[in-house]
C-alpha cells in the first residue's frame, strides 16, 4: 500500500508564514485571511481594552476578530509595516516569528488619540499550520506599553 504524508514540511510552513508577513507588509488583509483556515483561532494577547462594564480582548477567530483588528490597524497606521527577523519552524506545523511592527498613527487606536507619532515594537508570533497547508492558529505577543509610550499615550487605561 502506498501512503502519502500530508503534513506540510517545516520549510513549507515557513514559506506560508513568510507569505503571510509579505501580505501584511502590503497591507493586503484579504490575502492574510485567505492564508488561514475558515475556523482559524486568533489571539492577540496584549490586546485588552477595559471599559466600565466589560473588557474587550483580542481573542476569537481570524476571519472575525483578526480581520477586524488588522483592518483597524491599517486604517489607524496607514504606513503600517513589518520587518521579520527570525522564522523557526518544525515538522509539526509550528512556526515562531520574531519581527518588528511599526507605523505612524493617523487615527485613534484603542484609547490612544492620534498625535501623528510613530512606533516600532518587537513582536513574537506563534503560528500553527494544519495538514491542509493553512494557518489554523495565530498568537501574538508584544509590549503595549512600549507602543503607547511611543505614541504619546501615557494612561494605562
Amino acid at each position: 500500500m502506498i501512503t502519502t504524508e500530508s503534513r506540510p514540511t517545516a520549510a513549507a510552513s515557513e514559506a506560508l508564514v513568510r507569505a503571510f508577513f509579505d501580505a501584511y507588509r502590503r497591507q493586503d488583509v484579504d490575502t492574510m485571511t485567505d492564508l488561514c483556515s475558515d475556523n482559524a483561532d486568533f489571539s492577540y494577547v496584549p490586546y485588552e481594552v477595559w471599559g466600565k462594564q466589560r473588557v474587550l480582548r483580542g481573542d476569537g477567530k481570524v476571519k472575525t476578530v483578526g480581520k477586524t483588528i488588522w483592518t483597524g490597524l491599517v486604517n489607524s497606521f496607514p504606513d503600517l509595516t513589518n520587518t521579520v527577523h527570525t522564522v523557526d519552524a518544525n515538522d509539526a506545523g509550528d512556526v515562531v516569528v520574531t519581527c518588528d511592527i511599526g507605523g505612524t498613527q493617523q487615527l485613534a487606536w484603542g484609547l490612544a488619540e492620534p498625535r501623528g507619532k510613530g512606533f516600532s515594537e518587537p513582536h513574537l508570533f506563534v503560528f500553527h499550520v494544519d495538514d491542509a497547508g493553512e494557518i489554523d492558529r495565530i498568537s501574538a505577543y508584544w509590549d503595549g506599553a512600549g507602543i503607547n509610550r511611543q505614541l504619546g499615550h501615557l494612561e494605562v487605561d
Binding site: 496584549p46 506563534v126 494612561e155 494605562v156
Partner: protein, 168 residues
C-alpha cells in the same frame, strides 16, 4: 468491572523520572534545558535556573527595556521577580521546539509582596500571559527573548500612568 490492574512496582522496571526541579539531567534536549530553567524559576530557585544559562547569554526582556543584556542582568531580574512574587506560579500552555529554538507560551501569576519594576507593592494579584523564546546551544541557554505586555502588568498592579509608575 476491572478498569485497570495495579502492578507491584519492581525497582528494575521503574521508569526513570524526568528531573523537573534540577538542571542535572542525563540527556538534555533544548526543550528539557528550557524546562529545567523555567521549573527552577517558578520555584524561586534562581541559582538552579541560572545553572543552565551560558555565561555569554544574550538577553532581551523587551517590556523591561532590557536589551542586549547578559547573565548578571537576567539573574537580577529573576531575583527581583522571585522576591516580589513569593507565590509565583508559571503555567506552561505550549512548548514549541524548532531545532535549537524553544518557544514557551505561559501564564505568569503571583501576589505582589514587594516593589516590582517600579510599581509599589499594593499586594495585587498578577496574571499575565507571556512568551519566552530561548536559543539553546549544547545544554546551555544562549539566548533569551521574553515578550509580555507591560501595560497589562501595570494595570493589574493598579498603576495608572506610564510616566508615574510609582504613583497610585
Amino acid at each position: 468491572m476491572k478498569l485497570f490492574t495495579r502492578r507491584a512496582a519492581r525497582p528494575e522496571e521503574e521508569e526513570e523520572q524526568e528531573p523537573m526541579t534540577t538542571a542535572t539531567t542525563t540527556t538534555m534536549t533544548p526543550a528539557r534545558t528550557v524546562t529545567a530553567f523555567l521549573t527552577a524559576f517558578g520555584q524561586g530557585d534562581v541559582a538552579t535556573a541560572l545553572s543552565v544559562v551560558d555565561e555569554s547569554v544574550r538577553v532581551n526582556l523587551y517590556a523591561t527595556g532590557l536589551r542586549g543584556a547578559g547573565k548578571a542582568e537576567l539573574g537580577q531580574f529573576l531575583v527581583d521577580t522571585a522576591t516580589a512574587f513569593p507565590d509565583l506560579r508559571l503555567t506552561v500552555r505550549r512548548t514549541i521546539e524548532a531545532g535549537p529554538v524553544v518557544t514557551v507560551e505561559l501564564k505568569f501569576e503571583g501576589t505582589q509582596a514587594a516593589d516590582y519594576l517600579g510599581a509599589i507593592n499594593q499586594e495585587k494579584h498578577l496574571d499575565v500571559d507571556q512568551a519566552w523564546r530561548f536559543t539553546v546551544e549544547g545544554d546551555r541557554i544562549a539566548g533569551v527573548d521574553a515578550y509580555w505586555c507591560q501595560n497589562q502588568l501595570y494595570r493589574r498592579l493598579a498603576v495608572k500612568r506610564l510616566d508615574q509608575i510609582s504613583l497610585v
